[in-house]
């Protein structure tokens, strides 16, 4: 039996893979070894099996399978500090052939992920730019911000609602408080609420996120207090509806059609419900002002609303309305970052095309 097996082995024509190298997987949290090998030259290969031996043990365990075109494998079922070595087994329909074992190797966790270096550098550069311009704004250097079309409409829309004696609906998007669009929307809501407080216009703010609900309620209350109309604040102005996207849309649709607000604001993060809200609002004859950084929903707001703040205009609007110098300073910093991006695109393209440098791999 042993003889016949070794005979088969001797007669085996299948060539095993070579150059099996095992090393610690870099930039990870440990517990993984990366294997590479040179593929077998045989055409009958079906697959490779990865065998592992722990130092001091006699057995080889099959730890993985790789396709015939593969030349690498990550074993992520190992422990840090234990020495392992590997063999790669070539498998064909009828036979197998094993490679020479690799060197022993040990894996360990790393303290820094070098793959993410570009992001770190980018974060540092950007942070410096923003902080620098905020610093300048603090020192009262006057900053110019261009007009934003949708914003001028806010005043007009509020006036119209007051004239008609109808309310204002403000939907601060459907996302959570950690969404930047929601934060920007809260700032704009604060300004809108100051004006509704001044004119005594009814305000309706339905919410889809419970945390945003708490924040929005405080923001509106604060605005009414600041406008000296704390008495006019009614806790039922701001209310939570549900976290189900389309149930929320159904409820807001119902509110628009029943309460018929003169102006609808859709400002924040929206998904597919954007057009459901904006078209229903249009049927009621309301003036509609939208603003979102959801690129996929902008086409619908642009078609169905009277004014739309496109993407970044939303953030700029929140700074513009508040006239807070620190926020305006940040906008200046963003503009310089954009300039930097433009320069990088142009310079990298020129380098890539003329000198054939692989510049794109830097980023």
């Amino acid at each position: 039996m042993t003889l016949s097996l070794s005979l088969i082995f001797l007669l085996s024509s299948l060539s095993p893979p070579t150059d099996v190298i095992a090393r610690d997987k870099p930039n990870d949290s440990g517990g993984a070894i990366l294997l590479t090998w040179t593929r077998s030259s045989d055409t009958t290969v079906v697959s490779y099996r990865v065998l592992r031996q722990t130092e001091g043990k006699a057995t080889w365990d099959t730890v993985g399978l790789a396709g015939r075109l593969a030349n690498r494998f990550t074993d992520d079922e190992v422990q840090d500090g234990i020495r392992y070595r590997y063999q790669i087994l070539t498998v064909s329909e009828t036979e197998t052939a094993e490679s020479a074992p690799s060197e022993y190797t040990v894996c360990s966790p790393q303290w820094f992920n070098f793959d993410r270096m570009p992001a770190v550098i980018g974060t540092i550069i950007f942070t410096c730019l923003i902080v620098f311009f905020i610093g300048r704004a603090k020192r009262n250097i006057k900053l110019f911000i261009r007009r934003i079309a949708g914003l001028d409409a806010v005043e007009e829309a509020l006036g119209r609602a007051t004239e008609m004696g109808r309310g204002i609906l403000y939907v601060p998007g459907l996302s959570s408080i950690d969404d930047v669009a929601t934060i920007a929307s809260m700032n704009i809501l604060g300004e809108v609420a100051k004006k509704t407080a001044k004119f005594g216009t009814p305000l309706i703010v339905p919410l889809r996120d419970p945390i945003v609900y708490t924040v929005a309620r405080e923001v509106v209350k604060e605005s009414y207090t600041a406008a000296g109309r704390a008495d006019a604040f009614n806790q039922d102005m701001v209310f939570y509806v549900t976290d189900q996207q389309f149930a929320f849309a159904a409820a807001v649709d119902g509110i628009m059609v029943r309460e018929k607000p003169a102006t609808n604001f859709f400002i924040g993060m929206f998904w597919a419900e954007s057009l459901i809200l904006a078209e229903t609002g249009a049927t009621t004859g309301a003036i509609q002002i939208a603003g979102t950084d959801a690129v996929s929903q902008l086409p619908f707001f642009i078609t169905a609303c009277d004014y739309t703040l496109i993407g970044e205009e939303l953030y700029a609007a929140s700074a513009y309305l508040s006239r807070e110098p620190l926020l305006l300073g940040a906008i200046k910093g963003q503009d310089y970052s954009k300039l930097l991006i433009l320069v990088l695109i142009v310079v990298s393209t020129i380098l890539a095309l003329t000198a054939n440098l692989p510049v794109q791999n830097i980023f």
Binding site: T127, I130, K221, Q245, A272, L298, L326, L327
Partner: protein
């Protein structure tokens, strides 16, 4: 204290969240995962109580004031209470039933049945309303008023025509052209907007961490 403590928390956790991105070491990674999987989910679960409290209060006020259509507020309150009871006591997984029986004979009123036969049809019908709204929005707004509006209209038109067999019958290369618009000018515009959004949102996050952006505090002392 009332402002400084929350701002400190934001600063510390913000720096941690950013730094964890580049440190793969298990000490940092396990804290990071606990943060996402346990801490934030538990805190969010508590916030839901506030939300539910708000919607109940909203409808109770309507009922008390006999506001217009107030009887419908009973529908919202009763369906909320009934479905919550079914879900809490009848279990969420049909395979592991809770203490409340969830079927009478062959008729199941398990949470899964409510989900499949109430939530899904209502949500997908709301979603399907978009087919009508797209038509009416297109009719109302797609007017060749100026260059920009005309280009918007033409691009939409080509894509719609390219998406049906008729487009290819009329003009053979039309579907390819439609695909080109989608993959070239559309990609360019989206990417350009994304750069601005990316920078703007990163700046806002930064301002929150540094305590410059305080809108979320909701004003007040």
């Amino acid at each position: 204290m009332k402002r400084r403590l929350p701002l400190m928390i934001v600063l510390v956790l913000g720096i941690f969240g950013a730094v964890a991105f580049v440190i793969p070491h298990p000490i940092v990674k396990s804290i990071d995962e606990t943060m996402r999987n346990d801490v934030l989910r538990i805190i969010t679960a508590f916030s839901l109580v506030l939300g539910v409290g708000s919607i109940i209060q909203h409808h109770l006020i309507k009922i008390r004031r006999k506001a217009e259509h107030w009887p419908f507020s009973y529908i919202a309150l009763i369906s909320l209470a009934v479905s919550a009871a079914i879900g809490l006591f009848g279990g969420i997984d049909p395979a592991s039933p809770g203490i409340l029986p969830t079927h009478i004979g062959g008729f199941s009123f398990h949470m899964q049945a409510l989900y499949d036969n109430i939530m899904i049809p209502l949500a997908s019908t709301m979603f399907a309303l978009l087919a009508f709204f797209m038509a009416s929005a297109a009719y109302r707004a797609f007017r060749a008023r100026n260059l920009e509006a005309t280009l918007l209209l033409i691009a939409a038109f080509i894509l719609m025509l390219g998406a049906v067999p008729l487009g290819r019958m009329l003009i053979r290369p039309l579907p390819d052209f439609a695909e080109w618009i989608l993959t070239v000018p559309n990609t360019a515009a989206k990417r350009g907007i994304m750069f601005g959004i990316g920078l703007g949102s990163i700046a806002t996050s930064l301002k929150i961490i540094l305590g410059i952006e305080r809108g979320w505090l909701g004003g007040g002392g």
